[in-house]
Amino acid sequence: MAKQVVLLVGTKKGLYTLRSDADRKKWAVDGPHEAPAPIHHATYDPRDGSMYAAINATWGGSRIDYSRDMGKTWQKSKNPAFPEGSDRTFFQTWHVEPGHTKTPNVVWAGTEPAALWKSEDRGETWELNQALDDQPSRAKWVPGFGGMGLHSIAIDADDPKKMQVGISVGGVYTSTDGGASWVQDNAQTGGKEDRPDVFYCIHKLLAHPKVSGVRFMRVHVDVYWREPGETKWRNRTEGLPSTFGFAAAMHPRDRSVAYVIPLDDMKRTASPPGIGVYSTNDRGATWTRNDKGLPPGAALESVREGMDTDLLDPLGVYFGTANGDVWASRDEGKSWERAAQYLPYVTSVHAATID
């Protein structure tokens, strides 16, 4: 059966889906689902075909919806709930991460207030990860500009017990026992040491889906790479036009390739003016600007969950913008076409490759 690509596009007012065949030339837009709720993230689980969406509603509380029929219908999970006696209340979900293929029913979620939640029933109920919650260093976590959330859940390609989480602003924590225990994991090399607080403001942390131990991290200031066996985050910012940004993606096959969209630290829009996707093919040692097809000079921005790739060859790369565009590349990020426009502010893009 021919493959198709479904983009799950979260916006500030509902969830949209963009569907295309393997050519990825024409996109059928459907939505919104659950407008006017902001959707911080939505994802597809290739293990069983489920979809998950973080429905961060104003009225009636936020929910995590799941779909078992490719987005035709959605059900509501039992909310993440802090234990009785906790001084915190579940506010909203920032990220949903399907578990490893070796743990087929496990799904993870990161929320605000910053906490990690595990589902062992494919997203129907959620249990607080107490070990992370009990970290004494949690007292030092503080909100970033967008709130205090756990937004990155990086599960190792080979071993589901090895994982990292990224918190804004709380830094990186690593577990080697499936979340039973955690250690802070913020040692860096090659970066500036004058703003340790900024280094704890993680913007996006990714695990390579095929190569164990490979990580790529977009921090408030600078980007970092980690190779298997390394215990420090290696600064790989040189060659980028600015140190700031949110959106980040890794090539699902080539373990040396990653993508970022640099933004101006103060204006929070593309830097230099005119959005460009920067790619590396040498683990961040050098960066190349890719802007063919993108609007010159446009003051666009793409946020934390704003970029993703499909699994096709050549690779499709996608990003959404605050002005409601979704851009697609069918040639590994070299050139770009607009897949959708006039959507609400795009907060997340996830590319599902479906057989």
């Binding site: 009225w59 009636g60 709930a81 906790s86």
Partner: protein, 89 residues
């Protein structure tokens, strides 16, 4: 007495708009409402049992916050309004 559900709360209750029940206080009315429509439980209160933000409760034409909150007393013929609070401008 009657409870009228407005806006999003109708959807949370499977489309119900008008619920008749017996209650002496607003707290009792909300408990009876949830008994009649369990899907409202998580929509009205958070995991600690606190009323959610962006939820407005009126008794007849008065905001319940000025009638004692959930302790507000109810009488036969009163109408409780469950409203999505004005949000966003």
């Amino acid at each position: 007495m009657r409870v009228l559900l407005h806006g999003a709360y109708r959807g949370f209750a499977g489309g119900a708009r008008d619920v008749t029940l017996d209650a002496a206080t607003l707290r009792e009315a909300l408990a009876a409402l949830v008994s009649a429509h369990p899907s409202l439980a998580e929509r009205l209160r958070d995991e600690h049992g606190r009323l959610r933000a962006h939820l407005s409760l009126f008794v007849n034409q008065e905001d319940a916050r000025f009638l004692g909150g959930e302790d507000a007393t109810l009488a036969d013929g009163d109408i409780v309004h469950v409203l999505p609070a004005l949000s966003g401008g």
